[in-house]
Symmetry: C2
Subunit: 468 residues, 2 copies
């Protein structure tokens, strides 16, 4: 007979104590497979508890499969045997690539000015949406995302970008990773995608991850080279005509039409227009997008609010040409949207209420101010013949060309030791040595006003050999 030491005044209910004792005896091999357990009545008597208590314990053991009841025969232990394995201890850590950033003044990454996020407006909108308790908030959305937001984006595109589309053509995604992988899957994974060289490392890595083949296309002063595009045999070209990172190039209209014409020459050719920071232009009005110039449904347009609102807002979108809408349904129709509905509705109201436009205008001024300050310090700390600022009309960074013999890697390392993160254009080239040009990227959007002077001073001290 099973005899256990029951604690009748303990916190754990008595039936759970009995359950645990028997369970441990079974897993420990004290009660073996097939062994008959005492009847409820006799165990209750033996442990001096009620029959109901034993019944509850047996019930739990049965529901978990430790014991089974055979009709008119009683309760029997089941086979529960785990091969013992030694667990080896493995050191686990967090990926470092983001955490470390906070310690540095970062001139190398196109980040967003954190302090200017419209907290109170955002909060007001969220509150309003939650108080309305719309059923929308509780409904799984189809893979394309929330209709209210998609309509808001369609209106915005019509008004501000002269892109005239129906909301049915718009798909919401959580960040560009998501969108690149989706567009790759809509177009078909067997097609070769041409990407920019130099370019964002991430694009290539996302295509790698999705097993989508790509080829790097050389850029000249007007953007992606059509000649090289032809040579590559690419079927699709993925590029940023309005503001290329890191070169800063804006592709002029002539090159845009050339690329569109390349596309029209053959069925199945498409363009992915990555318009990620076209909202901010200081000197001129935004250029016509390829999507709106295109007359033949060959352009997928992409943009994100991570850049224009906050990197914490994980909402991007793509606009499909009409011809691809049905294809997208076939590929993704069974999925639901992975983007927070509340955030989608908040973003929709942020656009519809005019807050987005105001935010863009405000941030343009803020960024313009940051740019002017850093240019001023560069002029102050560098002799006029020692540098050149290469700056195009659009976007939020410029290139500082340094007249120096110091290798890029040395400047970079010394700056990092002094708490300033830098990157050179040369790092974004694949298979090409551009180090001798000493083109330093200056992305000023994320740095705080009070850090600007320090950053430029450090750079100039390295440049003029103060740390030798």
């Amino acid at each position: 007979m099973l005899t256990y030491n029951i604690d009748k005044n303990g916190k754990t209910p008595i039936y759970m104590q009995i359950y645990s004792f028997i369970k441990n005896d079974i897993t420990g091999g004290i009660i073996t497979y097939g062994e008959k357990l005492p009847s409820k009545r006799s165990l209750a008597k033996n442990l001096n508890v009620s029959v109901i208590t034993v019944e509850n314990a047996y019930g739990q053991l049965m529901s978990e499969g430790y014991i089974e009841s055979k009709s008119k025969k009683g309760y029997f232990a089941c086979k529960v045997e785990l091969i013992t394995k030694q667990k080896t201890h493995i050191e686990i850590t967090e990926p470092k690539y983001i955490q470390d950033d906070k310690k540095y003044i970062n001139l190398s990454r196109n980040s967003v000015s954190a302090e200017d996020f419209p907290f109170s407006t955002w909060s007001k909108i969220v509150r309003k949406i939650l108080s309305e308790k719309d059923e929308e908030l509780l409904t799984r959305q189809n893979y394309k995302g929330n209709t209210v937001l998609r309509k808001a984006i369609a209106d915005y595109l019509r008004q501000f970008k002269a892109i005239d589309v129906s909301y049915e053509q718009i798909i919401i995604g959580g960040g560009t990773e998501n969108l690149y992988s989706m567009s790759g899957n809509i177009l078909g994974k067997n097609l070769l995608i041409g990407i920019e060289n130099p370019g964002y490392h991430k694009i290539a890595r996302i295509y790698d991850y999705n097993h989508i083949p790509y080829s790097r296309i050389e850029m000249d002063s007007k953007g992606i080279s059509v000649e090289d595009l032809r040579k590559s045999k690419a079927d699709i070209v993925h590029f940023s005509p309005s503001h290329h990172f890191p070169s800063g190039i804006t592709t002029p209209i002539g090159r845009r039409t050339e690329i569109l014409n390349w596309c029209y020459e053959k069925e199945g050719r498409y363009i992915i227009e990555d318009d990620y920071d076209s909202e901010f232009r200081f000197n001129a009005k935004p250029m016509q997008s390829l999507f709106s110039i295109d007359k033949s449904s060959r352009v997928i347009y992409m943009n994100t609010f991570s850049k224009s609102v906050s990197p914490a807002v994980r909402i991007g979108y793509m606009v499909l040409p009409e011809t691809l809408v049905k294809k997208a349904d076939e590929v993704f129709g069974f999925m639901s949207s992975s983007v927070s509905v509340l955030e989608q509705l908040t973003m929709a109201e942020f656009i519809n209420g005019g807050y987005f436009e105001r935010h863009i205008n405000k941030m343009s001024k803020v960024y313009r101010g940051k740019r002017d300050i850093i240019v001023e310090y560069i002029k102050k700390y560098f002799h006029s013949g020692d540098f050149k600022i290469l700056e195009k009309n659009a976007g939020l960074h410029f290139v500082l060309k340094l007249k120096t013999e110091i290798p890029d890697s040395v400047i970079k390392q010394k700056a990092e030791e002094k708490g300033v993160k830098l990157s050179f254009l040369s790092e974004y080239y694949y298979g090409k040595d551009e180090e001798s040009l000493h083109n330093l990227l200056i992305t000023y959007t994320g740095i705080k006003q009070e850090e600007t002077q320090k950053a430029v001073k450090v750079l100039s001290d390295i440049f003029y050999g103060k740390y030798e």
Copy 2:
């Protein structure tokens, strides 16, 4: 000389009017490639505007690449020529699969009770988080997701599921689609994954989409068949031991250890434990997860808040065994999280503040009530010999076995005509005919109390031939 009709009192700035006229002439072929434009001074005189105005117009045209300036020679039109293509009109529509649902009383889908979403608590938390303006809110998160939420989940798992893990092992994803694809990529796309037959159609489709090979494994009354698993040559098994959809089976401890032992037999074998609705159990305490029984780092545990809080909250998570943490970093290290940071922080506080536990307790009662009501109506509208309720301990649906000769498809269609959506267990089998069993799924969580009677009445009327 270019002569245009300028509207000096119009809304559009004069320089933009000039810009548009010249642009249209270039794209329309009136000004041809290489043609020289009038000097700024002479055009200004001709149009009776200031030189500055023409300069602004030319500046915009240059920045977009319509014209170029050659030093000391003047301005020339660039090559801008687009092959004309006829745009064919294509009808585009929205995917129907979700929109339609609202018209029906839906007994076929495991949806969530919308009316019980804790709007005011959620709103309070969002407000608090936004008012604190934490920098966290504005920072791009690494691919694993927000640390505060991951710590909250680790605490929750320890307290409520006896799963003892470090937050470094936890990855946040937006919905299960996301997580299935991630786990597939961590384990390697060349491994064969065994999935349940019957099972959720979506799992197979997501693996299809990700080009991950899978094989369907037969289930018996205890869950996935180890014999069939062996036969399949699968390397990985993806299953739901705590509550299988649609069968409702809870895998007993003996079978769990058998599957773990299968896993230990060979290097590289893994288990994906899909625990999607284990939070709700009416009759017994939750069973020990495979993850916590495992002694050899072979189980990936997955769960989602879409089920326990709201389908609009797009947050799921997976817990990696220690051995896979580094591998995940290698695969995903370059990506950032695609899940809304605000929503992650809100969910974290929802857990940490004890709201999640309270919500689960409340919803268990709500769902229990819904279950009892529908069972009551079934007993009222069906004669006692005509049906059997097959119900296991866990989860949020049961199977209603009908004694009938009417084919499942006929019952389904007639019910749909009367506004009730049904599904039979037979629909979830692949390559197996189970129609003769007439096992009807009853998922009662999403239907409103006042709809219950109508739904059961419709079903009974079909059953007893009232619509003949």
